[in-house]
């Protein structure tokens, strides 16, 4: 089989597995993203308070504090003695993402993901190619810059312009001109660079990548020998460079688990694959030998 066209990515999966099965993880992610917004909006909209605050720091059911460790790190670098509530909140969040994967924040929580996913989807549909080349490493430079700037200005400078927290805050507390930022990111991703914001620039995502460097939950190309090279997973993946070692690196000694820290655990590759190559797994389940052994046991 030869590679599908980008605009056709996922079509075969819909035909063979049915629409629901071919959008299972995508739907779960959208439900997750929207219900997290709803947790924050139920108070101001219906007067029933579940989560107060926003993604930088929140209080759920008046008891559970959650704080973004990245903004707290900037605050610390800027010279502020952090109070205990925020610190506990950041520890809880850190432990959670160490377990499920750092960039689960990006694909399952962050509201900007819906904007950039929409841009990427339209890019494929309208076959928009090329644009400005930006390195995927640029975000780590930006991450370093935000921390240096926090130290140099003795304030959380990045928060003045951070589109991620700005979007979430705008949805919950009112937009102001925040919609301009959302629109800018959408157009940037649509016309200038594929996955330009989330995949190349966003220092929040870079921070969560590093946080999830050794996280447990991972996607595995468990049945990689079934791959028919349709390329659908590469076309829908927001970080397509993470797939290759796991999917195609068997002869180079790579295990089937996607260990790249930039993988967002979005599960879209599982959705679009008609050969059931991918599934959620964990980083310890990465031995090629063990894998073959299990397969013999399970599939006689």
């Amino acid at each position: 089989m030869t590679a599908n066209l980008p605009g056709q990515a996922g079509k075969t999966a819909v035909l063979e597995k049915g629409w629901w099965k071919a959008h299972q993880w995508l739907l779960l992610r959208r439900i997750s993203q929207l219900s997290i917004l709803l947790l924050f909006l139920s108070g101001p909209w219906f007067g029933y308070w579940i989560a107060k605050g926003n993604l930088t720091s929140s209080l759920t059911f008046e008891i559970l504090p959650l704080t973004d460790p990245y903004i707290l790190l900037q605050s610390f670098v800027a010279g502020h003695d952090i109070a205990s509530t925020a610190l506990y909140g950041a520890i809880i969040v850190t432990l959670f993402y160490l377990l499920v994967g750092g960039r689960v924040f990006c694909s399952w929580v962050c509201p900007v993901n819906m904007v950039t996913d929409a841009a990427d989807w339209l890019r494929r549909k309208f076959n928009i190619k090329g644009g400005a080349h930006l390195s995927r490493k640029l975000r780590y430079w930006l991450l370093v810059m935000t921390l240096l700037l926090a130290a140099a200005t003795a304030s959380i400078a990045w928060e003045l312009v951070n589109p991620v927290s700005m979007t979430h805050r705008a949805i919950i507390f009112g937009f102001g001109y925040g919609w301009l930022i959302v629109l800018s990111i959408f157009l940037f991703d649509l016309l200038l660079t594929r996955q330009g914001w989330c995949g190349r620039l966003c220092p929040v995502g870079a921070f969560y990548s590093l946080l999830g460097r050794f996280s447990i939950v991972r996607i595995s190309a468990r049945n990689r020998e079934q791959c028919d090279d349709c390329m659908d997973c590469f076309m829908v993946c927001p970080e397509e460079q993470v797939i290759k070692p796991a999917l195609k690196g068997a002869d180079k000694g790579y295990g089937p688990v996607i260990l790249d820290m930039n993988c967002t655990n979005c599960g879209r590759c599982i959705d679009v694959c008609t050969k059931n190559v991918f599934s959620f797994s964990n980083r310890f389940n990465n031995s090629t030998l063990l894998n073959a052994f299990i397969k013999e046991e399970v599939a006689p």
């Binding site: 903004i71 109070a83 640029l138 810059m145 003795a154 959380i156 937009f175 925040g178």
Partner: protein, 264 residues
């Protein structure tokens, strides 16, 4: 040069160029953002921070812009700055003329703050110093015209402490009294109820940030009457006893009268 070493030369060259490019691009962005940060630290005068904020610069290092203080403010006084407003994006503030601070005794905004940006050591709201009320316009303030408006005085939660009415002679009529509202910085919390209540189209009393509202004496400066009180006696009079070559018929009275005619 062999092919291999030329290739490694090219890849090294590319690595250096790409690294320099990324570093420069990001540094340029950083310079821009850094300058913007400096500007963002200049809080406009009409924006008042919640209680427990001492210094704007420290606050911008501590506040994570979560809005928990806003959520727990029972009077919807506090709001988060939106993009495009002249206050650092996402930080809480209020405008006294819209909704002033009601000075809740339990200070829920400070309790809600997870990072300590609002200082938990402030437990008595009367000790809050959000700003200072200032009569910014004597030309329109009704009390300065000799009328008995007194509204700012009467709405003040610390009436007769933070705002007092001081009687002055009314020079215009020549026979009435002006009741001049005087704000005392040792009591005024900057809650803004006076600014909210001012009956004029544009308030004549306004809450200003302390650094704009307060003067400061030179540190070497001493006020005679205070020094006199501290010392328990006059430090200038009586003068030291000394000899004068006074004109005939005059004497020097040391208890404060000075030069005077000798009584015969």
């Amino acid at each position: 040069m062999s092919v291999k070493s030329r290739q490694s030369h090219i890849s090294r060259r590319r690595f250096i160029v790409e690294t320099a490019r990324a570093a420069c691009g990001v540094a340029l962005l950083g310079v821009g953002l850094g300058l913007y940060t400096r500007q963002a630290k200049s809080l406009p005068a009409m924006a008042i921070r919640p209680p427990g904020v001492k210094d704007e610069s420290d606050f911008l290092a501590a506040c994570v812009r979560c809005g928990l203080c806003v959520r727990d403010c029972p009077y919807d006084t506090l709001k988060l700055s939106r993009l495009g407003e002249p206050v650092a994006t996402g930080t809480p503030y209020f405008e006294a003329r819209d909704i002033p601070c009601e000075m809740c005794e339990d200070i829920p905004c400070i309790k809600a703050c997870p990072t300590g940006a609002l200082d938990k050591e402030l437990t008595n709201i009367d000790d809050a110093r959000m700003g200072l009320a200032v009569i910014v316009d004597q030309e329109t303030c009704l009390n300065y015209q000799g009328l008995r408006c007194d509204v700012c005085h009467r709405v003040c939660p610390l009436i007769n402490e933070a705002i007092t009415l001081e009687p002055r002679h009314n020079q215009r009529s020549g026979k009435h009294t002006l009741f001049i509202p005087v704000v005392h910085s040792d009591s005024c919390t900057g809650c803004g109820k006076c600014e909210r209540a001012c009956v004029l189209e544009e308030a004549a009393i306004k809450i200003l940030p302390l650094h704009l509202a307060k003067g400061e004496l030179g540190h070497h400066y001493r006020l005679g009457w205070e020094e006199k009180q501290k010392a328990g006696k006059s430090l200038v009079t009586p003068d030291e006893e000394h000899q004068y070559n006074l004109p005939e018929g005059l004497k020097y009275e040391h208890e404060g009268q000075g030069l005077m005619k000798e009584s015969r």
